[in-house]
């Protein structure tokens, strides 16, 4: 059993229930609350609308924006449709000999891909063309040499430190974004993409490249190419919402995508190839699970180097119980903790895992339903909290 997990009621087939003895197919994902949360002997099948304590008298346009169209970060064919200017090595070599200026114009073109530049490294070196390159190309080639030499080569950069930091970020993005269309070109080329991704995610906390990385991860998995460094870099973003990019693959027509998505998402209770529910249901389940638990997920750092099915995220139950989101990928909450909070946590700490999960799940559910009722519930002794939670949920997690 995973530590700190909150199994959500899941549309299991009955044949799989034995693996999760505490979970049963529910009629609803959450049982609707009674009118009074204190009346543990009554249960009413009514739902109450969301509770807002303040009347909103401002102009709605100050808070809402309709953008008309919505784009998606998910694309199964992104890598094959990128349009870049690709220079062929032989053609460029011929051009260097016949019209050097035109050769330099082409290689310094804004639309050139990193992959083209990568393929022309030898020609550039043999013909001493480095100084004629623009700053982007120079920096990209120096980064490439650095990566492939594992940092053993030292270079002098013709930029201030501050300018170099900023240009390095931009150029690393260019390397990954234009190079991804030619992923598989060679092992060295792909290694540069992997490290560029790792730098962007770990050092620059760049999240816009995560969709590209997800595409590459699954494309490589289909073709049996090495992707573990890329998977590691992807999770090092410590961005729970990025799990949606993996969950999308649960609905893929390619069985390898589905199996790999199952492996990467196996830490979410209920996600696995053994379940007989549809791909759409599994996807919806992941989305709901993220909505519930996203603010309380803590990155563990587990990776494919460490075990077969890593659990990159765990739910911090104490944060969920107090409904206080975690902050900055740490196992600590952003909001201050009052003396009452510490009292609650002290009593909470004495519970077994089953009751901790029960209270955390119920607490969040009640908080979202009605924060005032939630505050009242928290005032009860913890034994009474458990009694109420069990009455509302049937004791089920």
């Amino acid at each position: 059993m995973l530590p700190y997990h909150t199994p959500r009621p899941f549309p299991y087939s009955s044949s799989n229930i034995s693996h999760y003895p505490y979970m049963y197919p529910p009629a609803h994902f959450y049982r609707p609350l009674a009118i009074s949360p204190f009346d543990s002997n009554h249960y009413h099948n009514t739902t109450t609308p969301p509770f807002y304590p303040f009347r909103d008298t401002t102009d709605p346009s100050e808070h809402y924006l309709s953008i008309g169209q919505l784009k998606t970060a998910y694309s199964t064919h992104r890598l094959s449709t990128q349009q870049n200017n690709n220079l062929q090595k032989n053609a460029f070599h011929t051009l260097v000999e016949s019209d050097i200026q035109e050769a330099m114009n082409q290689i310094n073109d804004e639309q050139i891909s990193f992959s083209s530049l990568f393929q022309l490294r030898d020609v550039i070196r043999e013909n001493n063309l480095f100084e004629g390159l623009n700053q982007r190309n120079k920096t990209a080639l120096l980064l490439t040499d650095d990566i492939l030499s594992h940092g053993t080569e030292k270079h002098t950069i013709d930029l201030s430190f501050c300018d170099y930091i900023q240009s390095a970020h931009t150029i690393l993005k260019w390397i990954l974004e234009t190079g991804s269309a030619h992923d598989g070109l060679s092992s060295d080329h792909d290694a540069v993409l992997d490290i560029a991704a790792a730098f962007l995610v770990k050092l620059f906390h760049e999240k816009s490249v995560l969709p590209i990385m997800a595409d590459m991860i699954f494309e490589r998995n289909r073709k049996g190419r090495f992707n573990h460094d890329l998977v590691w870099a992807f999770f090092e973003a410590k961005e729970p919402q990025s799990l949606i990019l993996i969950a999308n693959r649960l609905k893929s027509e390619n069985q390898k995508d589905v199996e790999f998505a199952h492996q990467l998402l196996n830490f979410i209770p209920g996600i696995g190839t053994g379940n007989m529910v549809s791909a759409d249901q599994q996807y919806s389940y992941v989305i709901h699970w993220l909505q519930d638990n996203g603010p309380f997920l803590h990155y563990t750092g587990e990776s494919l180097q460490q075990l077969h099915k890593p659990s990159p995220y765990v739910i911090i139950l104490e944060a969920k119980y107090l409904c206080k989101p975690l902050y900055a990928n740490k196992a600590e909450v952003a909001a201050p903790l009052s003396s009452k909070d510490f009292q609650l946590l002290d009593a909470y700490s004495k519970l077994d895992l089953h009751h901790k999960i029960l209270l955390s799940n119920y607490s969040l559910s009640l908080y979202r339903q009605n924060p005032t009722w939630w505050q009242s519930w928290l005032q009860y002794p913890i034994a009474e909290q458990i009694k109420i939670a069990k009455a509302r949920t049937g004791g089920r997690l």
Partner: protein, 254 residues
Amino acid sequence: MTVFIGNRILPSAFIDQYPPNSTERRVIEILSSSNHTYRYESVNHLKVELDLRANIVKASRELFYSGIGFRTFRNSVCNPSYWIRNEDGGFTSRDDVPPSEAIEDIYKNGRRYGTECATAIIILYFKAVLNVFPHDVFNQLFSKIHLMNWQQLDSNLAIAYFRNPTDYLPGDCRYVKNPDVNPLTPEWQGENAIDLGNGLYYGHGIGIKTVNEIIAALNRNRRPGATESAYLMDSVNRLGFSRLASLYQRLVRT
């Protein structure tokens, strides 16, 4: 706490059959003094586990001295007479050679091989099983071997991961994590290391060292300006001793 064999307590004299300072003796001492109650189906099940753990420790040392090199998956190498190198950098045993010989070749010709630390663990696990099981049974159980860190694991190895176990035993595979690793060298993100039972660990690429020495090696491979040290995690990967013991009972001790 107590070690149970079926419904009976393990006799205290059981330990006497193992030499002092042996791996088997160390394991029994830990099990017997644990807060956790351990239960074995039969005394033979316990003996097979002890035998396997002792051979994991032995195979670790032998792999260290085999000359096998540390290489990232992109640059991995193997002896093509016995193994096929796959596009992802892993190895698959050739169909025309017995898997037992393919594993033995890694130990005989270690210098012809280079891979990462997790794959080395799988290699020594196979070697440990090969040392305990007759070769013909081994080849029957593992007709095709894939070596690619913790992926494509054979179900008969039954490797499982445990977080926060009650005890750590010789033959367990621990993990030292390096959270501030330099992105330039992701292979240094951590080190899989076999507990040798005497305060030393075998980690491929680092060698036979104490935990602090492994941590120091990983710390030398962090990003410039790193502040967070590598650390030993409270978790283990373990060979499926119970499964292998059952297979041994069924296929060898008939």
